[in-house]
């Protein structure tokens, strides 16, 4: 029962290793290094990375910018709440407001074009979860998080909230359209 007794060899740190342990440590260490370098590698050669672009700002300032974009590029309204749908030009800055319990505005993007999407919450934490792509990003109050995204194929997508935000958390969902 010696894992629960003091080591029998007083100078246990001088006992030689068995081949099985040594070999496994070497293999495991190599694998750990591969996994470590995979992350910087993907930053250079991969397409899916967060750019580290974020700004501290106030809910009022963010909402103002969002309203300006809505005023400029609104194409229609949807749903019983009459949520504006905007179709911004490629390459432009788009502000997506997360609040209890809605996303605003609804975005209509073109496939193959890039957009700078700003994410921020007006109140509590929310989770930006784009389905069925399955891209998931945390949305903070006070931090304007900028993602440059390029939708690949047309279709109807959904943004659901996947950070628990209170009793109506499950109702916080919005469509996102990608057109040709």
């Amino acid at each position: 029962m010696s894992a629960i007794l003091p080591p029998t060899e007083r100078v246990w740190w001088k006992e030689p290793l068995d081949r099985v342990e040594l070999l496994w440590i070497v293999i495991a260490l190599v694998w750990c290094l591969i996994m470590f370098f995979m992350m910087p590698y993907w930053h250079v050669y991969g397409q899916q990375n967060l750019a580290n672009e974020a700004y501290k700002t106030s809910p009022e300032a963010f909402a103002k910018k969002a309203d300006e974009v809505i005023a400029k590029y609104k194409v229609r309204e949807e749903g019983p709440q009459k949520i504006p749908v905007v179709k911004p030009p490629a390459g432009s800055d788009v502000y997506l407001v997360a609040r209890l319990w809605s996303w605003q505005p609804i975005l209509e993007l073109e496939a193959g074009k890039s957009y700078r999407i700003h994410l921020m919450s007006m109140d509590w934490l929310h989770g930006f979860s784009l389905q069925p792509e399955n891209i998931n990003i945390e949305v903070h109050p006070g931090y304007d998080h900028v993602l440059t995204v390029t939708p690949t194929a047309p279709g109807k997508f959904s943004i659901i909230c996947n950070e628990y935000c209170g009793i109506n958390h499950h109702t916080m969902i919005s469509p996102l359209y990608v057109v040709k």
């Binding site: 509590w124 903070h140 950070e163 499950h170």
Partner: protein, 574 residues
């Protein structure tokens, strides 16, 4: 203060118990099981609501149940049990009197009051903020106050543990170095001190904020510091249950660690690197750089993962060596085929090792990879992962330890014959299925902490793929199996402890800690003392374990790159 030197020697195992320590172990274990019972009852509501075909609870009750389930399981059940393990690994294994039993009781009662206060806050209905209680979503002040009291109590217990180590050293109750299991417990306790300090740094200002004394808590600061507490507390569990694995191998097989040097260095790596892992939760957050994320999320360079991979080899490896020395030396796997598959502690520890490695470990590395986190963050994959680590890894290992401790600590036979073994199989296998299908649903995008993924009645609905619904249903079925397994554990434990057949003990062998130690317990008769000379194959003492480790590595590598492949198909993002 008069020093209490009452010891008794367990007639079956030869373990030496200091009476005050023994009483603390019993009380901590009993309260832990009560927390498990509460958490288990809440799990019924959570499971049967997430299983959309049943959808039992209303939204408010569901979130309330989920909050209390997380706290009772992740915090109260596990940490009370770990306190019992700390006292066992110090006082019992070092045959030493416990330092300041009075302070240990103060710690214990603070933990009890803290746990009650926190449960009261959630029961009020205005504190359904989840285990994570992310500001600026606020809870009732008693929610934070309860956690703080609990943490202070746990901190006191850690220092009683350290004090006992000092006494053991001073009074020379052991020779040479502390046993490996104690070393693992020291690792857990050091991580616990760091964890509790971090918890204080974030929970105290949050308490003041909930009382209106502080204006603002920044959400990113909260998450960054809170996870130094939230994730690190799970690392206490890892260190503790790995110690339990070693203890299980020692108790069931008389196995000797393959190499003290390797196993202890691996524990040391935990102390150095496990703390960095709060970054795992912040990979999809704004305001932190990729350099920070990559360094921290990988525990420097996956050095803590390396440590777990080492333990994953050395525990089964030491069992293989012990078995081969007993004569099960044919072929690669005779040692495993002839293992005691009817022995409850062995079965529990075995499933714990396999489940923690294959399901919990591999999935944890996926989520903790900076870019892969984008396709996993806050989906059901996350609870799938941690039910594999914390439930299969920690809870099941603790269940196995319970079956060993009931006769030793409570002097009662484990009740209901073979049911304990069946319990380990049913709970382990059901929990594995539950975790796998939860991760499957998460891979298809289903969110965690969500009352209704059918979005019924919403003008902007979304329909998850049919496969995701199938996964959820399978998760429900396996979850019911896990509930049955959990209920069996509670039935066996409670019945054995209070009504089980008493084991007749001779009078307490009262000896002075300094002079008259009880005779040293001898290793199980078969000579499991050598380093394994003359057994094994290919110049290895444990070739079978090595093959199993390569199977593990292969699945790890394949699954890792499958996830990168999946990531490469989503929208380009920069």
């Amino acid at each position: 203060m008069a020093v209490n030197r009452n010891f008794r020697t367990c007639p079956t195992t030869g373990l030496v118990f200091h009476e005050p320590a023994e009483k603390l172990m019993r009380w901590n274990a009993v309260v832990a099981v009560v927390a498990l019972l509460i958490g288990g009852v809440l799990a019924i509501g959570v499971l049967l609501t997430r299983w959309q075909a049943v959808h039992l609870l209303q939204a408010d009750l569901f979130y309330q149940f989920l909050t209390a389930h997380g706290l009772n399981m992740l915090v109260f059940w596990i940490i009370f049990f770990e306190m019992a393990i700390l006292y066992f690994a110090s006082s019992t294994l070092l045959r030493c009197r416990l330092a300041t039993p009075g302070m240990a009781w103060v710690g214990f009662w603070l933990m009890v009051v803290g746990a009650l206060l926190n449960n009261y806050a959630v029961l009020r209905g205005d504190s359904s903020v989840m285990f994570t209680s992310y500001a600026p979503m606020g809870a009732h002040p008693t929610f934070y106050a309860g956690l703080i009291l609990f943490a202070v109590g746990a901190l006191i217990a850690c220092f009683v543990f350290f004090g006992t180590l000092v006494i053991a050293k001073a009074e020379r109750t052991y020779h040479g170095s502390v046993p490996l299991v104690t070393f693992g417990a020291i690792t857990a306790a050091i991580i616990a001190v760091f964890t509790i300090a971090t918890g204080a740094i974030i929970l105290i200002p949050t308490l003041l904020w909930s009382l209106g004394l502080i204006e603002h808590i920044d959400s990113l600061m909260y998450r960054t510091i809170w996870w130094g507490f939230g994730h690190s507390s799970q690392q206490i569990n890892v260190a503790a249950h790995v110690s339990v694995w070693y203890a299980g191998a020692a108790v069931v097989f008389g196995a000797k660690p393959m190499s003290e040097k390797v196993s202890r260095t691996a524990f040391l790596l935990y102390i150095f690197f496990l703390q960095l892992a709060s970054a795992h939760h912040l990979l999809a957050d704004p305001g932190l750089t990729s350099n920070w994320k990559i360094f921290n999320t990988s525990y420097a360079m996956y050095l803590a993962v390396l440590a777990s991979m080492v333990h994953g080899l050395t525990v089964p490896g030491s069992i293989e060596v012990a078995q081969r020395q007993k004569g099960f030396n044919n072929g690669l796997f005779e040692w495993l085929r002839k293992a005691p598959w009817g022995n409850a502690p062995f079965v529990a520890v075995f499933i714990s090792i396999v489940g923690f490695g294959f399901l919990g470990g591999i999935s944890g590395v996926m989520m903790g990879t900076e870019q892969l986190n984008l396709i996993i963050h806050n989906t059901l994959y996350v609870p799938g992962h941690f039910h594999a680590t914390v439930v299969i890894g920690t809870t099941l290992a603790f269940m196995g330890l319970t079956y060993f401790l009931i006769p030793v600590l409570f002097r009662r036979k484990v009740a209901f014959g073979n049911m304990a073994t069946w319990q380990a199989y049913i709970f382990g296998i059901s929990m594995s299925g539950f975790s796998v299908f939860m991760m499957g649903a998460g891979t298809l995008g289903a969110p965690r902490r969500h009352w209704d993924i059918s979005f019924a009645g919403n003008p902007f609905g979304y329909e998850f793929p049919a496969t995701a619904w199938l996964m959820i249903a399978l998760m429900g079925i396996f979850g019911v199996g896990a509930l049955v397994g959990g209920a069996m554990y509670l039935a066996i434990t409670v019945y054995s402890v209070f009504l089980g057949e008493k084991i007749q003990t001779p009078d307490f062998a009262t000896v002075s800690a300094k002079r008259g130690m009880a005779p040293a317990p001898q290793p199980v008769a078969v000579g499991a003392t050598g380093h394994g000379a003359g057994v094994g194959a290919w110049g290895m003492v444990a070739p079978g374990t090595f093959v199993l480790a390569l199977v593990f590595l292969t699945s790890f590598v394949l699954y890792y790159f499958v996830n990168w492949k999946y990531l490469s198909t989503v929208w380009p993002l920069r």
